[in-house]
Structure formats: structure tokens, C-alpha cells
């Protein structure tokens, strides 16, 4: 993908707060490229997902080709290239959580949100019609002692049961 082919309708730019944070970040590394992951995290927080415009902007900031940025974005599961719900629900399904019935939690969420589970190449599949939730499975979240666990955006919820899941969902602001 060469830079010219990408069609960008509205350019992306950091808001002031993120720009400040970026300026602080970039000073930490001897080469600009190293600021890639933190910069992409900032951009995703602002925009919701990594659009072509974001990639172009990040490439300009870090003095790289858009191709290089895309290369990185596609490698890491935490960067989304499609829109996701307001709340991203990550359900851990690795062995220690599986031994503690994470499947019950996942099935309950599927039913409750009436959605399928997203795959990395198809996030829409796990996103509710109202755009409020995206449901996905993830690997061990390093909290196996309190399994089964889920993350809703940045927050971890422990020792889950279907009842607790209901409580969590009910408490989320609209």
C-alpha cells in the first residue's frame, strides 16, 4: 500500500491534551519510531479505532511510511481497524479461566447482548446493533486467581457469575 492510494476524507489530528502527551512521549526514545505503540494507543483512545487517517497522521508524526504503521497495527490485537462498541467486553477463555467455567459467562453475555463473538478480522460480528457493546474473547489476562474474569474497556471484573455479569451491565452508563 503506497501512501498515495489511501483515500482520506477527513484528516485526523490529536486534540490538545493528546498532542501534549505525545510531545512528552517522543522525548523518551532515541528514535521516533519507538513511540509507535504509545502513540497508537493515544490515537485509538481519541478516535475509537485506527482509521486510515490515523495511520497517515501517525506516520507523519513519526516520520515513517504509512505502510510501516499499518504493518504494526495489523500485528497487535489491541488495535482495531474497524469501529467498535462504546464498551469493549473482553472475556478471558484460556485454561485457568476455562477450569472456572468462563464458558458460562461467555454464553450468558452472548445471550444477554444477543450478539456473536467478534473475531479479529470481523469486529462487526461481535458488535451490538446499537453500537453499545463489542464482545470478544481474549487470552489470559493475568488474573487467573480470580477467574473467570472479563474486562470492560479498562476495568477488570473478577470471580464472575451470570448474576454478577447482569449487575455489571446494569451499572454501565448509557
Amino acid at each position: 500500500m503506497s501512501d498515495e492510494i489511501i483515500q482520506i476524507e477527513t484528516p485526523f489530528q490529536f486534540n490538545e491534551e493528546n498532542k501534549r502527551e505525545f510531545d512528552e512521549l517522543i522525548g523518551r526514545y532515541p528514535v521516533k519510531e519507538a513511540a509507535m505503540l504509545p502513540t497508537l494507543h493515544l490515537a485509538q483512545r481519541q478516535e475509537g479505532y485506527i482509521t486510515p487517517a490515523v495511520m497517515k497522521y501517525v506516520a507523519e508524526l513519526l516520520e515513517l511510511s504509512v505502510m510501516k504503521v499499518k504493518d504494526v497495527v495489523t500485528f497487535y490485537p489491541m488495535f482495531f481497524e474497524e469501529p467498535v462498541g462504546k464498551y469493549v467486553i473482553r472475556v478471558c477463555h484460556t485454561l485457568p479461566c476455562a477450569l472456572r467455567d468462563c464458558k458460562v459467562v461467555l454464553d450468558h453475555l452472548k445471550e444477554k447482548l444477543s450478539t456473536d463473538v467478534a473475531s479479529e478480522t470481523n469486529l462487526a460480528k461481535g458488535t451490538t446493533d446499537d453500537g453499545k457493546f463489542t464482545l470478544m474473547k481474549v487470552e489470559c489476562l493475568a488474573s487467573c486467581d480470580v477467574a473467570p474474569v472479563i474486562m470492560v474497556n479498562d476495568n477488570l471484573y473478577k470471580n464472575l457469575t451470570p448474576e454478577k455479569v447482569d449487575e455489571i451491565l446494569a451499572e454501565l452508563p448509557n
Partner: protein, 491 residues
């Protein structure tokens, strides 16, 4: 009953220990002050070597030795703290970051002083939002208090610490994957050599160290090598005991999960057995232990015959397994080992970075074979192959006899062994992720062969009673190193 020996975790639950003031009340930063006041950098490095401290992140490599490979004449040098913690079953670093981040900073300061390092990056896995927030706050405080920044405590040292978020890829825990990722690239491991100690991040000498390893440093400096080396197994006379020359000193943050009543992190002196650990963790949830994974999902499984194996670096290596990250997963009699292997293989198939063909293709292939067996569609044809066992010479080898085996089980073993061969310990891949795939695949299949056979024969998952599901050690080369040394020991 075995007692917890809290050293790293001693003050973990003190309210507000994450703040500088409270940390300071509990000897915080005094060990670093002692280091700079009483020792030369090289002396600290020597102390760490003498302490026998081994890396707690997975490989169990001697920390002091690793430091000795770092060329001291190349500037700048870097420290990368590995806080990626993504090995399934491991969760001890998270608590350090979230509750006691100043301890990690003090450990980093000591390492930086010993190695003449000015810049440290703490690579934190992307999902640890709270951990990163707490660490960032602690770093900020340490700058304000003059423990970080230029001219630290008027010593002329310049030390900076930056946290760096990952983005959800397991392979970035591998040290060279971490380095690539830190440089802003895909986290694909590098060929070694050159090792990071010589050419690491930004092609400069780099020390990569796990959070727990670094947290040991304040205690080694503060209490001395002699105090430190007293912690660890004292050996009796059983033939499995590791030789003294290979030290297993200090405590370990054992993470125990799965079928126990009180899962959690337990800090204990190295060298207790699985039975003891299960007891410490509130006992087994269930009737009988079927299997124990001793070092994160990459480690070969232990059967009920091996519950007396000490959980330290050397004993587990002799048992053909590893302590790895210290993530212990317990399974009771209701668990089906085929099902457990399927879960783990899905994990690895998802996490392969895709650089090496054997790993990229082999790992999903292994997963598919296990999936097929679990679905009751395992191939029922059998093949005849040479049988391995104790030969006339008393050594392990080809017995000259043959055995019948289901085609799919032979295939499973073959594909896995061609990613990385667990018998010869050679691998066809860039990083040891390959071993982390074939170790569980082959060990589960060999040690719990009856359960795999039953699934193929019956066309569905069958959970056998523990005794029937497990192959006895005498009959199986998965246990080879553990049971063969007897022959050598008797010589």
C-alpha cells in the same frame, strides 16, 4: 505445614504502600542508598552473581551471569523490565505493579547502578491499565523526591524510567520480541546471537529482566548474600535432588490457579512440592489431583506420580519440565486432558508471530489434530513404529521392539516434534515459542495417552479415572530424565 515466606510481598497489603511516604516507612529506597554508599557497581554485580538469583520470567537464567555478558565499554546501555506477563497461569507481576510499584523502581535503580545504565523502559502489557497508572504515579513521585532524573541524590548518577505499553501480543514477552516491539515494530523475535546483552534495544547492550527478578535486588543488597542464599531447598539424599552447584536460592511468587480452594499468589521458599503447595492454597477442589502444570502453560505437565517433585528450577528440569514463570495450574479428577490440551493449543495457534514456517503452520496443525480428537473424529487407523524404552544397556533408546499407535497420535507427536523436538531439545524456529508449543503437546499426549486413545476409540471425549488415565513412569519416555538417573546414580 509449609509456611509462607513473604519477602517481596511482605508489605504488599499495607495501605498506601504505593505512595512514596508509606513505602519509605518500610525501609523503602534504603537498600538503594546502601548500595550507592557502601558498594562499587561491580561489587553489586558480584553480589547478585553470588546470590544465585535466577530469572523469574521464564528461562531461569542466572541473573549475575547475564549481567557479566554486557560489555561495559559500549554506551549507552539499556535496561528493559519485562512486565508483559502473558504466560497463562501467571499473575504475580500484576500485584507488584498495582500495589507496590516503588519496590520495582528500587530494584531498577540498583540494577542501573550496578550496570551503569541511564535509561530503563518498563514494557507493560497493554491490558494492565491500572498497573501502568500506578507505576506512572510512582515514577512521578520518585522524580519529585530526587530518586530519578539527573544527579540522583547528589551522586552524579542519571537514571530515567519510562513505562511503555504493549498491545496484546503474547510473543512480546519473549525478550527479543519485546525489544522489537519497544522499537515500534511488529513484536517478532530476533535471531540469537547476538543476544540482547550485547545488541539489544536500539542495537545497544540491553539487560532484559522480569519484574520479580528486579524486585529481589533490594533484598539481596539490604540483607546480604548469606541471608539470601539460606532461602531455598535444603537437600536430603533422594536421587532427584539437584546438585548443590546449581543454586535455587530465594523465594518464588508461586501463582496457583485452577482446582484449588484458595487460588492466589503465595510467596514461598523455592523447592517445595506440588502437594505442599496445594495444601498452602487451601487444598484441592475435588477428590484427587489429576495433573499439575508447574510453570505456566508452556511447561510439560506433571502427573499424580510426580507430585513430590520439588518446584524449583533444577528439580523440574530433571523432571523434564520447567519452573518457567511459576504459574501453577492444578487439575482435578473431573478434567479431561484432551480438552485441556485443546484449550492450550488454541492459545498457541493464536499467538504464533508467524515468522517461522514450522511454528506458523505446525501450531495450527497440532491444534487441528487435537480438535479432531476432541470432536470424536480422531483417525482410528493405527501404525506400527519402533518402541522406545530402557534398553539392555540400562539407557534410554530403541528397544528393538515395535508398538501400535493411532495414526493421529503419531502425527501429533511428529508435527510437534518438528516444530521443536522435545527429546533432543533442538528447535527449527527463531525463538523458543516452538518448544512452548511442543512441550505441552507431546507431554500431555505421552503421559495421558489412555485418555487420548479412549477419545479416538469411542469417538467422543472420555474422562478416565486418574489411575487409568495416566501412563506409569516406567513405561514412558516423557518421564525419561526423571527416572533414568537412577541407573546412573547406582553406577
Amino acid at each position: 505445614m509449609v509456611q509462607e515466606r513473604r519477602i517481596l510481598y511482605e508489605h504488599l497489603d499495607v495501605p498506601n504502600i504505593n505512595t512514596f511516604d508509606v513505602f519509605r516507612q518500610y525501609e523503602g529506597y534504603t537498600r538503594f542508598e546502601k548500595a550507592i554508599a557502601e558498594y562499587q557497581p561491580e561489587e553489586i554485580a558480584d553480589m547478585v552473581k553470588e546470590s544465585g538469583l535466577k530469572g523469574r520470567g521464564g528461562a531461569g537464567f542466572s541473573t549475575g551471569e547475564k549481567w557479566s555478558f554486557v560489555p561495559r565499554d559500549i554506551e549507552p546501555r539499556y535496561l528493559c523490565c519485562n512486565a508483559d506477563e502473558s504466560e497463562p497461569g501467571t499473575f504475580s507481576n500484576r500485584y507488584v505493579l498495582e500495589k507496590n510499584p516503588h519496590l520495582l523502581i528500587e530494584g531498577i535503580l540498583i540494577c542501573c547502578y550496578a550496570m551503569g545504565i541511564e535509561t530503563t523502559y518498563v514494557y507493560i502489557r497493554g491490558e494492565f491499565t491500572l498497573g501502568k497508572k500506578m507505576l506512572d504515579a510512582a515514577i512521578k513521585e520518585a522524580y519529585e523526591q530526587g530518586y530519578l532524573g539527573e544527579n540522583v541524590r547528589d551522586t552524579g548518577l542519571n537514571i530515567n524510567i519510562y513505562s511503555h505499553p504493549g498491545a496484546g501480543a503474547y510473543i512480546c514477552g519473549e525478550e527479543t520480541g519485546l525489544i522489537e516491539s519497544l522499537e515500534g515494530k511488529r513484536g517478532q523475535p530476533r535471531n540469537k546471537p547476538p543476544f540482547p546483552a550485547v545488541q539489544g534495544v536500539f542495537m545497544k547492550p540491553t539487560v532484559v529482566q522480569n519484574v520479580e527478578t528486579l524486585c529481589n535486588l533490594p533484598f539481596i543488597v539490604g540483607n546480604g548474600v548469606e541471608w539470601y542464599t539460606q532461602m531455598g531447598p535444603t537437600y536430603g539424599d533422594t536421587r532427584f535432588d539437584p546438585p548443590k552447584a546449581d543454586p535455587n536460592t530465594g523465594t518464588k511468587l508461586y501463582c496457583i490457579s485452577g482446582d484449588v480452594n484458595e487460588p492466589g499468589v503465595y510467596e514461598l521458599e523455592l523447592g517445595l512440592t506440588s502437594t505442599e503447595l496445594i495444601e498452602v492454597a487451601g487444598g484441592l477442589r475435588g477428590e484427587e489431583v489429576k495433573a499439575v502444570i508447574p510453570g505456566g502453560s508452556s511447561a510439560p505437565i506433571l502427573t499424580h506420580y510426580e507430585l513430590d517433585t520439588r518446584l524449583d528450577f533444577t528439580s523440574l528440569t530433571l523432571a523434564k519440565s520447567m519452573l518457567g514463570s511459576g504459574g501453577i495450574i492444578v487439575m482435578n479428577e473431573t478434567r479431561n486432558i484432551v480438552d485441556c490440551l485443546l484449550n492450550i493449543m488454541k492459545f498457541y495457534a493464536h499467538e504464533s508471530c508467524g515468522q517461522c514456517t514450522p511454528c506458523r503452520w505446525g501450531t495450527p496443525w497440532v491444534r487441528d489434530i487435537v480438535q479432531r480428537i476432541a470432536d470424536g473424529e480422531g483417525r482410528q487407523t493405527t501404525i506400527t513404529r519402533p518402541k522406545f524404552g530402557v534398553t539392555e544397556s540400562g539407557r534410554w533408546g530403541d528397544t528393538g521392539e515395535t508398538e501400535e499407535i493411532y495414526e493421529d497420535l503419531d502425527l501429533l507427536e511428529n508435527v510437534a516434534n518438528n516444530i521443536a523436538n522435545v527429546d533432543t531439545m533442538t528447535w527449527n524456529t527463531i525463538c523458543v515459542f516452538g518448544i512452548a508449543v511442543s512441550w505441552p503437546a507431546v507431554s500431555y499426549m505421552r503421559k495421558f495417552k489412555p485418555e487420548f486413545e479412549a477419545a479416538i476409540r469411542e469417538g467422543k471425549l472420555v474422562t478416565l479415572p486418574v489411575a487409568e488415565a495416566t501412563v506409569p513412569p516406567e513405561e514412558n519416555y516423557a518421564y525419561q530424565q526423571r527416572f533414568i538417573p537412577k541407573e546412573f546414580a547406582d553406577l
